[in-house]
């Protein structure tokens, strides 16, 4: 199966129903994408597939065939810098998925309102309770990308 990950073409041998998450983590060694629930309810495993955030834990790898996948390892943008500046991370486990959601939001809507940011992050659970700092970071990233 062929697809692109973080701009590079890859070829993997995997059952077509294998979740993309496991292919990324186990076959490609991209462990920055996390397993949280296995049913797309927490956002820890979010990656972008052709520019759209998707839960990779219950997405068959065949869906990604001939498409372009972006993981946290492929990003080094304003969102990460802003998260650092706002000191949003605690245990760090949910951050990869949050970064994907926030990147997508800012691509689609470069200057969101605070409530738009909150609702865009609705799919991402964070148990350390960093929500408000994450929201502030996304607002900061939005200001700084201008």
């Amino acid at each position: 199966m062929k697809f692109t990950v973080n701009g590079k073409p890859v070829e993997v041998e995997a059952g077509e129903n294998t979740p993309l998450l496991y292919v990324l983590r186990n076959d490609l060694g991209l462990v920055g994408t996390r397993f949280g629930c296995g049913s797309g309810q927490c956002g820890a495993c979010f990656v972008m597939v052709d520019g759209r955030p998707m839960a990779s834990c219950d997405l068959p790898v065949s869906f990604a065939m001939n498409k372009s996948v972006t993981t946290v390892e492929g990003l080094s943008g304003k969102v990460q810098k802003a998260l650092l500046a706002e000191q949003a991370a605690q245990c760090g486990y949910c951050m990869s998925g949050i970064i994907i959601s926030a990147e997508f939001l800012l691509q689609k809507n470069p200057h969101p309102s605070e409530s738009e940011v909150r609702s865009a992050l609705d799919k991402n659970l964070c148990r350390c309770g960093s929500h408000n700092r994450v929201v502030r970071a996304v607002m900061r990233a939005s200001r700084e990308q201008a």
């Binding site: 390892e73 605690q90 245990c91 659970l125």
Partner: protein, 777 residues
């Protein structure tokens, strides 16, 4: 001034890894030839295991092993005991459980571990687990704590002579309490259920066992690697500590839940020994919800007696506190803290509180962020608001009249107790009225009526509450090490275990201040029993207090050792040397040498410096008593009467966490715990079917946790430092404080908005709406 020293909002040094996908949690570790395990959990809350047939599972290609409780018994593997029971502290006798890695004869809750299957892949292991045929004889189960305590209830432990009583606890003074109630002008009573909730760390528990050369290595997502080693080597495998190395790398959230030792920690080691290959296990989310220790689940009836001036005369309470199917590692802690913290910040002249820790056919309970303190603050702060209504005294004024004044410190809460005295507290410091004043000021308390009118205009009910909380933080002793490297950089070897608290940063701030070593030249090593000689891990808001105090001891010892070398290098007697701001100076001169340069001298291979020893390192210990973080919470919320939806509009917290080492990190800890406390009050609930014991909230679709849009957009926060007198740093705990204060303030504000006297948590829209309908009727 050191820009990276104590008190500075230094950015966390660990963040870059976390934000670029480079953190390394247990599941990121891939060992060669690794196999994968899956646990067979009991689908029954209570059932006799009549037989296990693993033939079909073992016949599947790629399946290597099926382990059962009978195997564990035959091989002499021991059970996991609680770390302590009340009787070990001079309290009453209880029923001590020894939880086997796998249950051989009886399942005691839905999620009890019955068999362990090992296969080539995780997928195959799970498929094979479904093929393990277990012949269960279902038995009647008891799920709710109130039912379990009844005469004739199905028993969780057949040979427990006390029915489902795990242990009783009682403290206070019966005669004084009875006398006070007899003469009281006012009495108020509440009956509260503190809902069962769960940590639900984003990283599910995960472990890898690796057996080679007669020694085991366990990689596990734990807050307490040495604690895991101690129990597994001592109680389960019955072998010397040297045969087991425990590594706990980055951990994706713990909140107390990962302070325990779980059956899977032993299972992966045992399976690895049998197969000669590493074995990994990762929990699914449902397995996490079923199998991780839960928190709270306490039913309590409490009464308060007051005089005509609103002064508290006495308190009494009777609680049933669930422990689930087993008494977990620190399972006693929540039950104990839920009682002994009831006096809170008030002068309570007489008190009699008791609790029955009760077995139920449910997931075991243990410390979860707060561990008993949230239960205690909920009881006393609900009573205070009821007392305010009953006496007609303003709730803030009523609290003020009862605050323990700073002049009364140190204050012994157990002064009149005849029972349970050894487990009570002596508070060292606290300025409760001062913090209350500050909270009133920054919350714009006086502007409430105006805001209430505005709410009414848009058909919203507005309510508010002010509460005060106090908790104990820190437990046990601790050990820390400091090691200089030959180049003069420093390694902090910590007995504590950071899993989101920013220790790499706070410890470096302290050491940088104390030794004058640049902040960026200090690193943290933790979480590996081979690298850290001993430690107790991180829980009970203990690390800065106990780890920090031990670290101070290590730093002082380093200075003492290095002084001699400094004397030699400065060509003077050691008695003429003084240490100031990172430099050894010759008294009365401008001759000086930096600590780093002195440290480097310890690593010269030849020459006169070698007589001072090779290398510069030292350890420090601390066994300081607890500290008492405290603070004032104010909450204003709105209720939509059409839907029952509650929206927190304003939330103010003024905390005294002693001396603040890093305000940015402390704010983050407070804010994080607030999210969990608000979650408990408004959303979270582990629900069981009361008959079958099946969990009804076993996924993220069913167990509601706060998301970004569910929390207040902004918290008004401040710290007033009242340094602790119980430790050399003056620090108090910070990790749990937020969720001790949040449940009572949110619920009191909600009851104020609805003008009703009672509503149990979580106050979901459905429950709020029902309560409003009931009030109308």
């Amino acid at each position: 001034m050191n820009r990276h020293g104590i008190g500075q909002p230094v950015r966390r040094v660990e963040d870059q890894r976390f934000l670029t996908g480079k953190a390394r949690y247990v599941d990121d570790i891939q060992l060669p030839h690794m196999l994968h395990g899956a646990v067979v959990m009991s689908p029954h809350a209570h059932a006799r295991i009549k037989g296990i047939d693993a033939t079909q599972a073992l016949a599947m290609a790629g399946v290597h092993l099926v382990l059962t409780g009978e195997d564990a018994r035959k091989e002499g593997l021991g059970g996991i005991p609680p770390l302590f029971m009340p009787e070990d502290m001079g309290g009453p006798k209880g029923y001590r459980t020894f939880r086997p890695l796998l249950e051989p004869a009886k399942a005691r809750y839905v999620g009890d571990r019955i068999a362990f299957v090992v296969a080539d892949t995780p997928e195959l292991a799970r498929l094979a687990a479904e093929k393990v045929e277990i012949d269960y004889e279902p038995l009647p189960a008891v799920v709710q704590v109130a039912d379990a305590a009844k005469e004739g209830a199905p028993k969780v432990w057949d040979d427990n002579p006390a029915g489902n009583l795990a242990f009783p606890l009682m403290m206070g003074n019966k005669d004084a309490t009875d006398a006070a109630f007899a003469k009281a002008k006012h009495t108020v009573a509440v009956r509260l259920y503190n809902n069962r909730i769960t940590a639900n760390t984003m990283e599910p528990r995960c472990c890898i066992g690796d057996f080679a050369n007669d020694a085991y290595t366990l990689y596990t997502s734990s807050q307490n690697p040495h604690g895991v080693r101690g129990i597994l080597s001592g109680a389960v495998f019955k072998m010397p500590d040297k045969n087991l190395r425990v590594i706990s790398p980055d951990v994706g959230g713990g909140f107390g839940m990962k302070g325990d030792i779980y059956p899977e920690d032993g299972l992966v080691l045992w399976a690895s020994r049998k197969l000669g290959r590493p074995v990994k296990w990762v929990a699914t989310r449902t397995e996490s919800l079923l199998g991780d220790n839960h928190g709270r689940d306490q039913l309590i009836s409490a009464e308060m007696a007051l005089d005509e001036n609103g002064k508290i005369l006495a308190l009494k309470a009777q609680a049933l506190h669930a422990v689930g199917a087993y008494v977990t590692n620190a399972g006693v802690v929540p039950v104990l803290c839920a009682l002994r913290n009831i006096p809170n910040v008030y002068v309570v002249p007489a008190m009699l509180v008791m609790s029955k820790a009760t077995f139920t056919h449910t997931t075991p309970l243990g410390p979860y962020r707060g561990a008993g303190r949230p239960e205690a603050s909920y009881v006393i702060e609900r009573l205070m608001d009821e007392a305010a209504k009953k006496t007609g005294i303003d709730p803030v004024e009523l609290r003020r009249r009862n605050f323990i004044p700073p002049s009364a410190m140190p204050y012994d809460t157990t002064a009149n107790w005849t029972v349970g005295k050894p487990v009570g507290w002596t508070y060292d410091s606290g300025e409760f009225a001062k913090l209350t004043d500050r909270a009133l000021e920054i919350s714009d308390w006086k502007g409430f009526e105006k805001r209430k009118k505005q709410s009414e205009e848009k058909n919203r009910l507005r309510g508010r509450s002010l509460i005060y909380y106090l908790e104990d933080s820190g437990v046990f002793n601790e050990r820390m090490e400091l090691r200089f490297d030959p180049s003069g950089t420093v390694t902090v070897v910590a007995g504590t275990h950071n899993h989101g608290q920013g220790h790499a940063t706070t410890y470096a701030q302290m050491v940088s201040d104390w030794l004058g070593v640049p902040f960026e030249n200090i690193r943290l090593v933790q979480g590996d029993t081979d690298a850290v000689s001993f430690g107790r891990g991180t829980y009970a808001s203990r690390s800065t207090m106990l780890g920090g105090s031990a670290l101070k001891g290590a730093a002082d010892a380093i200075v003492e050792k290095a002084k001699h070398m400094a004397g030699h290098l400065l060509e003077t007697a050691v008695t003429d040397i003084e240490f100031e701001e990172g430099k050894f100076k010759v008294k009365g001169t401008d001759k000086a040498i930096a600590m780093t340069d002195v440290a480097k001298a310890f690593y010269r291979p030849v020459g006169p410096t070698t007589r001072f020893g090779t290398g510069l390192d030292a350890s420090g210990s601390s066994a300081v008593p607890p500290s008492f973080p405290n603070g004032c919470h104010i909450c204003e919320l709105e209720v939509d009467p059409e839907t029952g939806v509650v929206e927190i509009d304003r939330y103010t917290v003024v905390d005294d966490v002693g001396r603040v080492i890093n305000p940015m990190i402390c704010h983050g800890q407070i804010e994080g715990a607030l999210a969990q406390g608000i979650g408990q009050a408004l959303m979270e609930n582990v629900a069981f079917d009361a008959e079958s014991g099946q969990m009804l909230s076993a996924s993220f679709m069913d167990y509601a946790m706060p998301r970004a849009a569910d929390l207040p957009a902004h918290y008004e926060m401040d710290f007033i430092d009242v340094p602790a007198k119980t430790n050399p740093l003056g620090v108090k705990g910070v990790g749990e404080a937020g969720c001790v204060g949040a449940p009572p303030v949110v619920m009191n504000a909600l009851l104020d908005a609805l003008k009703i006297d009672h509503l149990d948590m979580p106050a979901t829209p459905h429950r709020v709406w029902q309560a409003m309908q009931k009030a109308k009727a």
